[in-house]
Amino acid sequence: MTPAPRTLFEKIWSRHVVTEGAGEVSLLYVDRLLMHDGAVHTFDRLRKAGRAIRRPGAIGATADHYVPTAGARVAIADAEVRGMVEAMGRHAAELGIPYFPPGDARQGIVHVMGPEQGFTLPGITLVCGDSHTATHGAFGCLAFGIGSSELEHVLATSCLWQQKPRAMRIHVAGAPPPGVSAKDVILAIIARISAAGGTGHVIEYAGPAIAAMSMEERMTVCNMSIEAGARAGMVAPDQRTYAFLEGRPFAPAGARWEEAVAFWQTLPTDDNAAFDAEVAFDASALAPTVTWGTSPQEALPITGRVPDPADSPDPARRAAVERMLAYMGLAANTPLTAIRIDRVFVGSCTNSRLEDLRSAAAVVRGRRVVVPAWAVPGSGLIKQAAEAEGLDRVFREAGFEWREPGCSMCIGMNGDIARPGERVASTSNRNFEGRQGKGVRTHLMSPAMAAAAAVTGRLTDVRALVREGA
């Protein structure tokens, strides 16, 4: 009898179950753990409880959340916060954990650093105390964010008690038209399935549009799985995955590499494997997409208009739209391209990799920004690579600030924030109330669209801008 066809998720899950608990919970083995400066109190809590870290060799660490990104690597002003970053360095040294502090070229956003170092590999379980851990699933692993108690648990036991998520496949057909990026694809997917559409699920992204994406684009897509409520996003590993990983510092080498690739090739979902939910999506009809509200699901093609609450038959939805319009300072039915912006942020674990910077630079080349605009590379290595091809010059000549790597204005906890009432065109992942600073209004979009907004001062269809300029 041939074994039943299985999904990528099922294959990875079943290889990591140590034991079953009562009910639906399993003890899941965690292969790798990434840590950032925001998680440093966990070490103190473990120490206080008199517990040892079970497997330091499974851990990699950097500092990103609290690190300032201003030019000359200014010191962290708040002594308490500065102490957290310093403590991360001390703990890492004591435990022998690889740690990339500010100033080390390998430092960067934890979800950029992991893949860049080859720490992220197909077939593994990987966790981090950050919801955007879903990013790593682009490599065909099961990667998800956890809270600090779960982090403590993993450090002490190398395991987590987990309820098995259901499997959802989102099949993306068609090729995105010019001007439409991976960010537009995922924003449109979230708009379609909603911010809770993936709750309780792991999403596998599949189909020709995903297969044609670079690893960087796949990371952008998987990164925002959490914005659709899903615990994790995944893409089956393929030649692109292996080509990206080969030769990375923590990736297997030599005979081990061959052995690993042979195994990884068995991971993709089998034909006829059953998913708990399936969604079919066509990328060929997409336009550049932006959000207008305070949930990532509130995304529309740039050719659209701000919704009118009066159009919602459901009173709860009407109230929600009204509240969002009030927070965002928007009038119903305004064309999206009429919305003026005050600031632009290109960066974050969603869109701070080399291709993202290239795409934004291509739009601003030879143009001038009319609002304050920042480009924040995802890691020191990306910054170096961008500078080697002159992107820093393109950004600076256009009037962008070219900054040091970190989470920066995605997260509003490191001093990089906008002022109350300001409207930001942002390549990050969340447009929640207050996310980029108290009272700040965030519009999510791709790097090319953010760049277009920077040079016009309003939300702009990058396709029209590029046509004009050509």
Partner: protein, 203 residues
């Protein structure tokens, strides 16, 4: 962790959908270690005005709901960031149970680690509960984890499901790490086998 068995308390209706953990606690407060001061950070930017005064229109500031220990929320409560601080601030404030049609996954898991019970109810049940609480401000609700029933202000009894493993953990206020460490030999054996099968994972 504090155990949770049964709780009868004032319940506050919270109508917003997709309440994210940034709204429950803004990022600028997250560097503080867990402690009682998290009570004053709960819903900070919607609960207090620029000068730090309570906003009268925020429901937790209204006299009838000030002593609420149960939150009856809407869809996708606790979505977004993995910050456990969101649950810490609820617990520090005194909220020990959150009833909603759906939750953000990570928030849901975090609740069980902190001793806050998340209860999933059908959407129409949630609507009915919130309607009653608006109609009778300050009314009490009972959440009983032993019997797995919620009792609404009007006496309606609503059964709810909870994973038996998590239920037991909450009822006992269990130290989960201690429980897992009882499996240490199994974990070690599993790990040896795993690293033999995928030797490239050894570093």
């Amino acid at each position: 962790m504090d155990a949770f068995t049964t709780l009868t308390a004032v319940a506050v209706p919270f109508d917003f959908v997709n309440v994210d953990t940034d709204r429950i606690i803004p990022a600028r407060f997250l560097h503080k270690p867990r402690g009682p001061e998290y009570a004053s950070l709960l819903f900070h930017d919607v609960r207090f005005d620029e000068d730090g005064h309570e906003r009268a229109d925020f429901i937790l500031n209204q006299p009838a709901f000030r002593s609420a220990r149960i939150l009856v929320a809407n869809d996708n409560f606790g979505c977004g960031s993995s910050r456990e601080h969101a649950v810490w601030s609820l617990a520090a404030y005194g909220i020990r149970a959150v009833i909603a049609p759906s939750f953000g996954d990570i928030f849901f898991n975090n609740c069980f680690k902190v001793g806050v019970l998340p209860v999933v109810v059908a959407p129409e049940t949630g609507v009915a509960l919130r309607r009653q609480l608006h109609a009778m401000p300050g009314a009490t609700v009972t959440v009983d984890l032993e019997t797995q029933f919620v009792t609404a202000p009007d006496g309606t009894v609503i059964p709810f499901a909870v994973d038996p493993f998590r239920r037991r953990g909450l009822l006992r206020g269990q130290d989960e790490i201690a429980l897992t460490l009882e499996h240490a030999p199994a974990i070690a054996a599993f790990e040896r086998r795993r690293l033999a099968e995928e030797p490239w994972l050894t570093r």
